[in-house]
Each structure stands twice: as C-alpha cells, then as structure tokens.
C-alpha cells in the first residue's frame, strides 16, 4: 500500500499511540473522574473492562471475516490474519474474564455471577482456545488453514445463541446497567481507553500476522531446485512400443 518502510513500522506506531491513549485514559479514569454514586471506586474498573469487551469481540469478528475470506479465495495472508485475530481475541477475552471476576467480587460478593455477556466471553474464550489447539495439531498448512477457518465460522455463529441461552437461563438475575446516563466525565476516559486498546489491538494483530506469514513462508517454501537429477525435467513420452 505505502512504502515498505512505513508499513513495516506501522504496527509500532499503533502500539505507541495505543499505549499513550491507554495511559492517559486510565490516569483520568483513576484520578480525575469522580467516583460513581452507587458503586463507588470499583466502578473505575469499567474504564478498561468495557473497552476490552468491545475490542475482544472486534478481534474475533476480524478473525471470522478472515476465515470467510480464506475459504472464499484461499489467499494465505488471510490465514495469517485469522491466526492473529484469534490469538489476540483470545488474550483479550481472557483479560475480560479476569476483569469480570475482579468486578464481580466486590459488587456481588462472588467471583463469577453468570452475567450473559461475561459467560458468553468465557465460552468464546474456550471455543477459540480449542481452535488454537487444533492449529497446533495439524501440520499441513492447507488443512490447518481450511479447518481452522471452518471451526472459526462455526464458533462465531454460536455467539448470539450462547448469549441468548445464557441470558434466558439466568433471567432471574437482574441485568446490570452499564452506566449510560452518566456525565461526560465518565465518557472521556472510556473513549480514550477504547481507542487505546483498539490501537494496541491493531498493532498487535499486524505484528502477529507478520509472524504467521513468516512461518507460512518457510512452510510453503518451494523445494530445493539445484540437483544433479534435474536433467530430465520435462518428460515427453513417446507412443512407440
């Protein structure tokens, strides 16, 4: 797209910008923004929790799109992108589950409260961790790419079904409201962190898919050509008996 040098450095720009935004946003969230009326200081966790949630979903959606693109066209770069999307999505989903537990303990007195969104994330985390394991166990690059693309599509189609099933299953539990009617003091750090994590995620996916592409390149490297047995390269077979 642009000069090769710029595109090589692009992920680092994203990571730097993301880290800077995340630092500022977290500072504002922790020290500048007023504590929330009902939940108090615990609520400050929301400034990283909600952005993590958005971005983990975004990373997995990206993996899903990459899986569709791979199955449709068979271009290897989409396999690399899918691998990156899945791994980054899984790490973010794991962080999300950890943050969810930290949030739940002081708020409801339990580490896990079976909130539909969080439970869906946990299910997704396991489903996509399974796909990472599948990729490890398949040596052939073509099979690995096709199978993990199929598994990604299947797992992703499950997201809304898991969400609704957990929601109905847990319908006795009151759905907690994400603070939406709050003052702009809450919005600023939330948005900064959302973009911070988004940029981090983009840079990270770019770097990770670069690694995956390098591995694919070595796996798909053409066979050695120099050989003393190459004289009869193109065989013409006569019809005479």
């Amino acid at each position: 797209m642009t000069s090769p040098r710029l595109s090589r450095r692009l992920p680092f720009f994203f990571i730097l910008a993301g880290a800077a935004l995340l630092l500022c946003g977290s500072y504002i969230g922790l020290f500048v923004a007023p504590p929330e009326r009902m939940m108090g200081e615990v609520q400050r966790l929301m400034y990283v929790h909600v952005p993590t949630a958005w971005n983990s979903m975004l990373a997995l959606t990206f993996a899903f799109i990459a899986a569709l693109a791979y199955l449709a066209g068979g271009a290897w770069k989409w396999d690399a992108r899918m691998e990156a999307g899945i791994e980054v999505g899984v790490v973010l989903a794991f962080l999300l589950c950890v943050q969810g537990s930290i949030w739940a303990k002081p708020t409801w007195g339990v580490w896990w409260d079976w909130d539909p969104r969080l439970t869906t994330t946990a299910v997704l985390l396991l489903a996509f961790a399974g796909i990472i394991a599948l990729r490890r166990f398949v040596d052939d690059p073509g099979r690995r790419a096709t199978w993990s693309a199929v598994a990604t599509i299947i797992a992703f189609a499950d997201v809304p079904i898991v969400y609704f099933s957990v929601k109905w299953w847990n319908s006795l539990h009151q759905l907690q409201s994400t603070p939406q009617t709050v003052s702009s003091a809450f919005h600023l750090p939330l948005r900064m962190n959302a973009f911070g994590i988004l940029f981090l995620m983009i840079g990270w996916i770019m770097l990770r898919s670069r690694i995956a592409e390098a591995r694919l390149e070595s796996e798909l490297a053409p066979p050695p050509t120099a050989s003393r047995f190459r004289d009869g390269a193109h065989a013409q077979l006569g019809g005479s008996r």
Binding site: A127, G130, I131, F137, A151, I153, I154, S165, W169
Partner: protein, 222 residues
C-alpha cells in the same frame, strides 16, 4: 437424493455391524449417571432436582465416544476418500453420518431415561415430549459433532481435540436441553419450555445447514 440414500444405507450397514460398540457406549453413559449421584450424595431431593443436568452431561460425555468412533471405519483404510474419488457427494456423506449419529445419540438418551428414573426418582408422564426434547438435543450435538469428528479423525491427538472443540460450542444445546427436561420433570408453572425448544430448533437449523455446507471443505485435501 440417491446419494443421501446411499449414504444412509452405508451408515445402516456400519451401525448394524458395530452394534456392540453402541452397547459399550450405553454402559459408559449408565456408569456416568451412577457416578454423578456420588458427587451429590444420597439426598433424594437434590438428586431429583439435578437429574436433568446429569442426564444431559452423561449423554454429552458419551457423545464424544460415539462421534469419534464414527469416523474410525472411514479413516482406517481411507474408505471415505475412496467414496469421494467415486464422486460421492460430500454433503450426502455428511448428512448420512450426522443422521446416523443423531439417531444413535437419541436412542442412547432414551435408554438413559429409565436409569435416571430409577436412580434419581425423576420421572415424567409426558414421555412423548421427553422423547422430543431428547431428539432435538441430540440433533444439536450431532451436527457440529460429526463435522468436528471428521476433522479430528485426520489430525494428531484426536482424543483430546474433539471435546475441546465441541463442548464450548454446544453450551446452548446443553443449557436448553437441561432446562427443558428439568421443567418437564419438576413442573413448568411459567410455561418456559416452549422458548427452550425454540432455541434448540434454532440451533439445529443453523448448524445442520452450516455444517453440511462446510463438510466438503473439511474432508477434501486442501
């Protein structure tokens, strides 16, 4: 259609010749039901309350055996590849296998019901509806399970991979089936069974079509 009939005929022959395997799985399911009661203790009331969950967990655990075994005969001498080279339709092969697995799991589920009644004192008079729930639930296990079983049968470490991939995916099936069965056993004052059955129908509609579409990509070398 002819292809599907051929696939079903093939599955029928295979299942009939391997029927002893089915009984081994049934014994495994029964054993798990027995073991679950030890985890809860002998309180009859608690056992009755959790009986539906135990039934479906036993079926889920047994399903990994049924599903992974179902591709053993296919990969042993590359029989599946042989059929593909004869231009057999991958979709027909998938639906044949998925239907065979579905019926097997449903039969297994129905065989576990009397054991659940005896062990947990959890029965219902509405056997018709219970059979329907078991049919729907096992269909939900079978469609994605068959696709994943085809995949892992050709991969290393197949024993570990199948549950790893399948279990998170079928969380909604498990939830809906357990809830619907439980409401049937313990009573359904709020009339919620319908929405759980709707969820199962929805899951089945999505996965029976999606997996049929994708199966060809899984079994062909790529």
């Amino acid at each position: 259609m002819k292809q599907l009939l051929a696939a079903l005929w093939k599955e029928g022959l295979l299942q009939w010749n391997l029927r002893s395997r089915f009984f081994a799985v049934a014994v495994f399911g029964t054993t798990s039901l027995l073991l679950f009661s030890f985890a809860i203790g002998p309180s009859a009331q608690a056992l009755r309350q959790y009986s539906a969950g135990f039934l479906w967990l036993a079926l889920l655990l047994s399903s990994t055996l049924t599903l992974s075994e179902s591709f053993q005969a296919e990969t042993e001498h590359r029989a599946l590849e042989g059929l593909l080279l004869l231009q057999a339709s991958p979709r027909a092969l998938f639906y044949g296998k998925a239907i065979a697995n579905w019926l097997q799991l449903a039969l297994l589920g129905m065989m576990l019901v009397p054991i659940m009644v005896v062990l947990y004192d959890a029965g219902t008079a509405d056997l018709f509806r219970l059979a329907g729930i078991i049919l729907l639930g096992s269909a939900g296990l079978s469609a994605p399970g068959t696709l994943y079983a085809a995949m892992v049968a050709q991969a290393r470490a197949q024993q570990t991979l199948l549950p790893l991939l399948l279990f998170p995916l079928v969380v909604p099936v498990l939830l809906a089936s357990v809830k619907a069965t439980s409401l049937l056993i313990l009573g359904d004052p709020m009339g919620q069974t319908g929405s759980w059955i709707g969820l199962l129908l929805c899951f089945n509609a999505i996965y029976w079509s999606l997996c049929g579409l994708l199966f060809g990509r899984v079994v062909e070398d790529s």
